[in-house]
Amino acid sequence: MRVANWLAVLLTVAIGVDSASAQVVNCAGVADAFAARLALSTGAMDEDGAFALLRSAAEEDLRSCPDLERQRYYLARMAELGYFATGARRADGPAPGAQALAEESQRKHPLSVRIATVAARLDGSIDAARRAMALDPGYAPARTALAVALAAKGDTPAALATLAGADSSQSAAALIVRARIRLMAGDANGALAAALAARNAGQRKEPEPTPSRDILRDAEELLGLSSRALGKPLEARKHLERATVLGSAKAREALAEIAPGRRQSK
C-alpha cells in the first residue's frame, strides 16, 4: 500500500546546518520517479551499467525515504544478481551479504511478495518459497522459486506441475527454469523446446529486473546441453560457445568435454 501522498521527511545534511538549508523530500514523488525510471531501464547499450546506476539511485532514495519498498526490493534483487555496491558484477553468483540484505528487507516489508521471493531463492528451501507464494499466489516468480526448490530436492514431477501452463504465457525466466528441470528429469526434447521458447521470449518484459544477457546465456547453455543429450555435438558446440561468451561456466565445462570434430548424428 502506498504511503500517504504528502508524507515528507526533513533532512538535515549535517549536524549544525541551520533549518534554512534543510531539504523537504516528498517520498511519494521519489517512489514514482524511480518506478518511471525503472520502466525505462531497457534498451541501454551497457545493460549491466544501467542496472548498476539504478541501484545507486535506489540507495540514494532510501537515504531520504527509508520505507520505500520498491527501492528496497530493487537493492535485494541486484544483490541476488551479483551487483556489488561499487557497480561491478560478480560472474559467479550473488553478491556477498545478499541473503542478509534480503532478510533485512523482508523484516521491513513482511508483506512484500517480491522481496519474499528474492529471499526464498537465496534461501533455496521449499518452505521459504511456499511462504512467498502464500503472500500472493498470482505472483509468477514466487511460483517459479517454488519449482526450483522442489527440483533441487529431486521432486521434478511436482516442480513441473508447479510450472504448469502454456509456454507462450510464461516469462523467459520461468521457461529457463522449466528447461532446466526437464533436462534434469531426462526430457532433453522438452528442455530444448522450453529453452528455445525462452530465447524467443527475450523481447518480452520480465516480471522482475533481469539482465537480458542472463536470459540469453541460460537459454544458449540449455540449448547446448539439450542438444548434447540428444546426440547433436555440432549444434551443442555452437550454443555452448555462445553461452560461454556470455559467461556460463557450465557451458565452458561442457564444451571442454565435447570432442572436437566429432560427427553429428542425424
Binding site: 518506478a35 518511471a36 534498451g43 548498476a52 558484477r89 530465447r199 527475450g202 540469453l216
Partner: protein, 344 residues
Amino acid sequence: MAHFDKFANLNLLGWNKATSTQTIKVGQNAHIGLWGGGPAGEALEVFGDDDRICVTHEEPKPRQPAYKDWRHFLLTGLKPGTINVKAFLPGTSVEYAKAIKVVVTGSSKIKLVYFPGERDDGSTVIGTIYVIGGKGEAIRAAAGPRVGYKNPADGGHTAEPTPAGHYTLGQRKHVVTSGWWQSSIPWGAKLRLNAKGDVEFQDDEGRGNWVQATGVDGVLTKALYRYKTHMKEKTNLRKVDAELRAALINPITKVLAVTTWERNDFGRWGWQLMRNGHGTVYFVHTTPLNEAAFKADKNTVADLTNSHGCIHIDPADRDDFIKKGYFAAGTEFEVRPYSESGPP
C-alpha cells in the same frame, strides 16, 4: 631445457642467432618461437622485463604436427631500448630457457595498437591499447565479445568481435545516434522545460540550439518509440512521451529530475574508427556507469565491460590520452586479432 629460436617460416630479419638478439624498429613486430616446456612438459611463463619498450604476446600454437613442440610469440617495439625476454617455470623465478635480447631502435610518429584478446577476466575479455612512439604508456580496453551473438533485447543490434585491421581515429565528438535511444541526446546536454512543459536539450554542452526532447515530435520520444516498436511492444508516441515525462519530471514538484543529460551510451567523448577515410560503426568510448563512478571519484578504476563491437575505455585513461595528444583525429589505430594473448 627449452630454447628460443625461429621455426618454420618465421621472418629472420633482425635476428642474430649467435647472440640470441632480435632487433626491431619502433612500431614494428618480430616473431620468435619457444621450443619445449618444463621438466614435466609444463608450459613456461614467457615475458619481457620491460613492456614499455617491447611487449610480448603469444600467437596460437602452430597446427602442423612438425611444430607441435613450438610456441609462437609476437614482439612489438613501443619505444627505443633493450629488454630481455625470458621463460620461467610456472609460478617461479626459475628461468628454463636462455633469454633472448630484444633491441628496439629508431623512432615513430604516435600510433596506437590494441590487443583486444589479451586475457579473460571472468566472462569479460580485456585487452590493452599500447602507445607506439610515446613513453611506453598503455591503457586497459574492452572490445566486443570473442564470439558474436544477438541479444533480442538489444533492439536489433548484434554484439561482435571488433575486427582486426588498420584504422585512424576520427574527430573527438559527443556521439549521437537514434539507434540507441538514450544516445539520441548528446552527453552533457543541458535540459530545461519549455513553456509548454516539454523537455528540451541544448546541444554541444550548452553552446548549441535548444531542441525538443519530449512531446510526440521530441527526439527522445521518437528514438524510444522506435526501440519499443522494434521490441514489438504495443504503444504509441503519446504513451511513450508520458513514460518519458514520468521519468524525467518529478510528478509532484514538476521540476526536472536531472538538468544535464548523462545517459548517452557512448559516455562523454567518442572517437570513430575510420577505415580508408570512411567511418565505421566502431567507436572508442566510455560508458555512463564508468563516467558516473569517475565523476564521484577521480581515482576510481573502471570496471570495463565488453561492448557490441566498440572499444570501452576508462574515463581517467581517456582524459590522460587526450591530454597527451594520443587520442587525436588522424592517429593511427591498429586492432590486432583476439587470438594474440598475454602478456601475463
